[in-house]
Amino acid sequence: MRLLLPMLLTYLAVAATPPEKVSLRIPFLSEGETVKLQDLKASINGAPAHLSRVLGTQEPLVLLVVLDLAGDLSLVDPARQALIAEIEKLPAQVSVALLRAQDGLRVLEDPGESREKLVESIRGLSISGRAGLLDTINSATRLADAVLVKSHVRTAVLFVSDSLITNYREDYTNPVVNSSDSNDMSRRFPEGLVKEKLRQLKAEMASTLTPVFLVHVNYQNDRLNEAYQTGLLDLTNSTGGAAKFCRSIAEIPGAVTEAVERIGRLQTVELEPKMSRAKQWDISLEAPGRQLSHRSRYTPAKEK
């Protein structure tokens, strides 16, 4: 009998293991008031998905602020000031982590630290190194995704960057190697490497869910940087986020405010799609009379 009861309990426990559920948390942004669960409809690859929960704007939010500032102090300082002003205004349910993109992604402040400490860290951030956005955007988003998947909070990533494509350690500019080669046609369209890197990043980040927002404080219109900034616009949009490029110092505070305000309005819906063997999931979220922006294509990460 002493043995029988544990064996029985073990058997029942194993037999009672519920079938594996696949759940997906999709952050989305809507104009106007909070969208309620009953107003939402979702489908994946055209098949309706069950909605189990919506995190509204009053739910906790973990915001990863990544600073990628390595250049002109006259742009960096207004960006820092604007960011500080916005952080000080954030409501209590928003918890901000501060990270730095130079020489690899690095955590400067964990979420949950006091706002004063955060502000002090932003003020004291040294402006050095190479541009780091392309090298760190995937890691930062995956870190936020880990939080999103394992807890019931909203997450977002905000990059503040002054990066130029010419300032990366890796060379995306396709510089002239042989100056005596006067018939070189390969550099007539020099943006090939930039486009390739951004396509690669977009493919890698297709398996992330957290939206990425970017405030870029150094608008450029040469061919290489135009390709770079257009690629960033495409990349952030594909995550359900957005990018804003500032052409003057005066635009920086407004752009930071707009990004933080949009992040504050983020909601997250938890879906339970039917198991799909498709490599890519085309996600559709709808609410009557509302315009929702969210990640529309998701590639589940392969199990390792």
């Binding site: 918890s95 964990d110 004291g124 890691s139 350690r169 890698e204 294509r297």
Partner: protein, 925 residues
């Protein structure tokens, strides 16, 4: 059964549940953040640069890179229009451009792990190329080569008479009070019977030299002009590497090292396949550049950047006759193709050393920057112009003296009589040195929100050129020449009180200011205003100009090029008793003397601009602006300036000017034939006014485009294909810049095509998505209106007073034509050849007549095949002029005399251009 399971869960829950403190979701999230960031290696000093596609765990950084090959073949290209028009076929083209790039952290197993701190990039690129080049030139007809000019005609199609200089005799009936004309000849001279030069009179050396000419093979015309079409291969090769190292010492210190290296050979398609080839020379090139940069971030608001750079660029011309062989002499027989070339055996090395330090700080609303810059440039050069001699021929010797449209330079060549000859004696290389220093201070001040003022001042110190062994000389306009007691004598650096340099060390302040204003507080609209003034330094040219006392030139000058040759080919350039160095003040007399500007005038530029940018919905930006720029003391070449020019008033002496001894006395410095100012005489002036509109659009759907339109007008007093008529009255030369395109449009676009699942078109999934996805287009389209036409008369009978003669305008005749086309681009009757010994009254460039406009459309089509998220293959097809458009060549602008007008004037004889395709393959990992 369900009840049992529920009961079991309940019991198990009771048995195993632990009492837990109340935890909020946010606390859980923070704990997860800390754990995951630790797993990813993002905490503490180390950072992650990993871009993994799988589960996030701390991973070793990986190396990235690419392999590539770009390929061109003549079978891909269209036959160029100029080749089709000459009846030619597609020439051979083989081009391979290949290489690789590897980039990532520096890791040496068991010795060094720079995964987070040291980063390298290594790039190699090689090029192997064989490419056809086409040229259309004029060579003597087969008859002319035998002395038979009976079929030769002038530009109007009339027989061109060739006169026998051996029959020259003074005309007893000449009336010196009347201009020389066919009715009042100063000299009598008989034409060759039947317009044929007897075989016995043909100079043997000329016969030997002219055997290098290929036979005519084209009838592009008119008449016998443009009768040689050359389509020859050019073989080029190059190998280059770039090494970059980036090392982060700590949060405050960073080092970056760059090293580039390239070796190459610039081939040259020969115009003539013998040692007499006048085309480009084969050049072997080497370039190296190394730089080290240190960035110190002293605090969050103070950054200092220090860099040291050294670079060298070397080239040497290959002697086509073989190493050590005597170069072929240079025979200039205009308008025919020359034989031989200038500078046949040049070697040069340009070394540059630069130290730069910049400090930036932020104080309140100010960003202050200070920069110091030191540069030292070395040019080591061995470049004899004409080591085997220059022979220059003109029509004069075979003309009827004083009468234009008679005689021919090639006929004079056949008789062996050159009107000018020169030989360079260069015994050693020159080692030029030049320093430059700059210190700048700038402040960017946010006066108000939305109003930023930037001011800066650069103190620019430009040192003069010196020579390592003081082997420099120039003509000093003040020094008295012992030969004639007049001003202008050679002075030598470092001797007789002369400093090591001829020019002063110049310190100038370059101010600039700009204002950015968000008009009326609207951040979407930015008004920008800017002003700047700058000075440019006089560069060290790749030439041994200014060393005449050490590397001299011996000249032979005809006393009257209509009557006597300077030298005959039979005599050659007899050895001279001159030895170098020759430091005597009169040693440059009777030569084209090098003249270095010594007053310290520097090219000065000023510019001002105003623009308004407005960002609009849909990520679009519209910019409108206007700019004004102005420059003075711009450096001019010998075609733009001549400080020893004869004043135009001397034209009154008419035919007497053909006498060299008479003419030379009219020059400001009669002891010199003229001055060689190279490209360093600060006398140019320009003004440019432009207005423009730019539209930019960026879209998250993968489309970006920009369109730009500019309307501009640029005037100057020096530019053009021929040079300046009046050196003494620059205001008369003020006309449109020869390169000014008033209307310019460019259109750039990049578009990721919306093909594939979840896109607009070709939405099929499965294996078909590999076909449809990953296509993109990039394109550049440019259109420009034509440059102003520079019309010039066929003959310049001004006794050598004018280097360049403008045409005359015929009053009341419209230069424009109704139906403009290649047969009649402009009306040549609106212009006339000026009378002998008078200047032309038309401007240097025409104010309304322009060359045909040009347009070009380049396109790149890319297809990306994704292998994994980080590995891909990309195929690229680049098409230059992909619509295979032909652009008209320039019309014939030569205006002949009324008696023999150029029948081709105003006509366009062809077009150029053709589609060029390159295919590329790149594997990225």
């Amino acid at each position: 059964m369900r009840v049992c399971r529920t009961a079991a869960w309940f019991v198990a829950g009771l048995a195993w549940a632990q009492p837990a403190p109340p935890v909020t979701e946010l606390d859980r999230a923070i704990a997860i953040f800390k754990t995951e960031s630790g797993n990813l290696g993002l905490r503490g000093e180390s950072g992650s640069v990993v871009t993994s596609a799988g589960n996030d765990r701390k991973q070793k950084p990986r190396w990235h890179g690419r392999l590539f090959e770009n390929f061109r073949n003549n079978s891909l290209d269209a036959v160029p229009h100029e080749v089709v028009q000459r009846g030619g076929e597609q020439g051979l083209l083989r081009r391979n451009q290949f290489g690789f790039n590897l980039t990532g952290p520096v890791v040496i197993p068991k010795l060094y792990d720079g995964a987070r701190t040291t980063f390298f990039t290594f790039t190699f690129e090689g090029v192997r190329e064989k490419i056809g080049r086409s040229y259309l030139r004029t060579v003597p007809t087969l008859g002319e080569r035998q002395g038979d000019w009976s079929a030769s005609v002038d530009a109007s199609g009339n027989t061109l008479p060739i006169y026998d200089p051996a029959t020259t005799a003074p005309n007893a009936a000449f009336d010196p009070n009347r201009p020389v004309s066919e009715e009042n000849l100063e000299y009598l001279r008989s034409p060759f019977p039947n317009n044929r030069i007897p075989a016995a009179r043909l100079d043997p050396t000329a016969q030997r030299v002219q055997a290098n000419y290929p036979a005519p093979n084209s009838d592009a015309g008119p008449f016998f002009r443009n009768n040689l079409f050359v389509f020859a291969p050019e073989i080029n090769s190059a190998n280059g590497t770039i090494v970059r190292l980036d090392h982060t010492l700590n949060d405050k210190n960073r080092l970056a090292f760059n090293l580039t290296n390239s070796n190459g050979t610039d081939g040259a398609a020969p115009l003539i396949p013998t040692e007499a080839n006048p085309g480009s020379v084969i050049v072997d090139r080497q370039s190296r550049r190394a730089s080290l940069e240190h960035v110190l971030t002293a605090s969050s608001r103070n950054v200092n950047t220090f860099s040291v750079t050294a670079s060298t660029s070397r080239f040497s011309y290959r002697n086509e006759g073989g190493a050590g062989a005597e170069p072929f002499p240079f025979y200039r027989i205009s308008p025919y193709l020359a034989l031989g070339r200038a500078n046949p055996s040049t070697r040069s090395a340009r070394n540059t050393f630069t130290i730069n330090d910049g400090f930036s700080t932020r104080r309140g609303k100010h960003r202050l920057s200070m920069n110091g810059y030191m540069n030292r440039e070395q040019v080591n050069i061995f470049a004899p112009h004409y080591p085997s001699g220059l022979y220059q021929f003109s029509a004069g010797l075979t003309s009827l003296p004083g009468i234009v449209n008679t005689g021919h330079a090639f006929a004079s060549f056949l008789l062996g009589g050159a009107d000018y000859a020169e030989r360079s004696i260069v015994q050693s290389p020159s080692y030029f040195r030049k320093p430059r220093y700059q210190m700048s201070v700038s402040d960017q001040w946010e006066i108000l929100k939305g109003l930023t003022l930037s001011v800066s001042v650069t103190l620019d110190g430009s040192g003069p050129r010196t020579e390592k062994y003081d082997r420099q000389s120039t003509v000093s306009p003040e020094a008295v020449n012992p030969a004639n007691g007049r001003p202008g004598a050679l002075v030598v650096a470092g001797r007789d009180g002369q400093g090591r340099a001829f020019q002063p060390f110049l310190w100038k302040a370059d101010p600039s200011a700009s204002l950015a204003w968000n008009v009326l507080g609207d951040t979407k609209t930015v008004a920008r205003l800017s002003y700047g003034r700058s000075y440019s330094t006089i560069p060290v040219y790749t030439s041994q100009w200014g060393t005449q006392a050490f590397n001299g030139t011996v000249s032979w000058i005809s006393t009257n090029m209509q009557l006597n040759p300077a030298v005959t080919l039979a005599d050659g350039l007899t050895s001279t008793t001159r030895t170098f160095p020759d430091l005597r003040p009169e040693s440059a007399n009777n030569t084209i003397a090098d003249l270095v500007e010594i007053t310290g005038r520097q090219p000065t530029y000023q510019s001002a601009g105003l623009s308004i940018e407005r960002s609009m919905a849909g990520q679009t930006v519209l910019t409108m602006g206007a700019g004004h720029s102005y420059g003075r003391n711009l450096l001019l070449s010998n075609s733009g300036s001549n400080p020893n020019a004869i004043p135009l008033g001397a034209l009154q002496f008419r035919d007497e000017l053909n006498n060299e001894s008479f003419r030379r006395e009219l020059r400001p410095y009669p002891q010199y034939q003229r001055f060689d100012v190279y490209s360093a005489w600060p006398e140019g002036r320009y003004r440019r006014d432009a207005t423009y509109v730019r539209f930019e659009k960026r879209s998250s759907s993968g489309l970006s485009l920009s369109a730009y339109y500019e309307f501009s007008k640029q005037m100057d007093n020096y530019s053009g294909p021929y040079g300046v008529q009046d050196y003494y009255n620059r205001q008369n030369e003020w006309s449109l810049t020869s390169s000014n395109n008033p209307h310019r449009i460019s259109f750039n676009y990049v578009y990721e095509l919306p093909f594939g699942p979840n896109r607009l078109l070709f939405t099929a999934g499965g294996w078909r998505r590999h076909i449809f996805e990953g296509w993109s287009l990039s394109g550049v389209t440019t259109m420009a209106s034509g440059e102003p036409l520079a019309l010039h008369p066929q003959f310049n009978n001004t006794g050598g007073v004018l280097d360049v003669l403008n045409v005359n305008v015929v009053p009341g005749v419209d230069p424009q034509v109704a139906n403009q086309g290649p047969e009649r681009w402009f009306n040549p009757e609106a212009f006339a050849q000026p009378d002998d010994f008078t200047i032309g009254n038309a401007s240097r460039t025409h104010p309304t007549l322009r060359m045909p406009g040009t347009q070009n459309h380049d396109l790149s089509v890319n297809k990306r095949f994704s292998i994994t998220t980080e590995r891909s293959i990309e195929l690229t097809a680049v098409g230059l002029n992909f619509v295979n458009l032909a652009n008209w060549t320039a019309p014939d602008t030569m205006i002949g005399p009324a008696s023999a007008p150029n029948v081709n004037a105003g006509r366009i004889i062809g077009s150029r251009g053709g589609r060029v395709i390159q295919l590329g393959l790149r594997y990225s990992f």
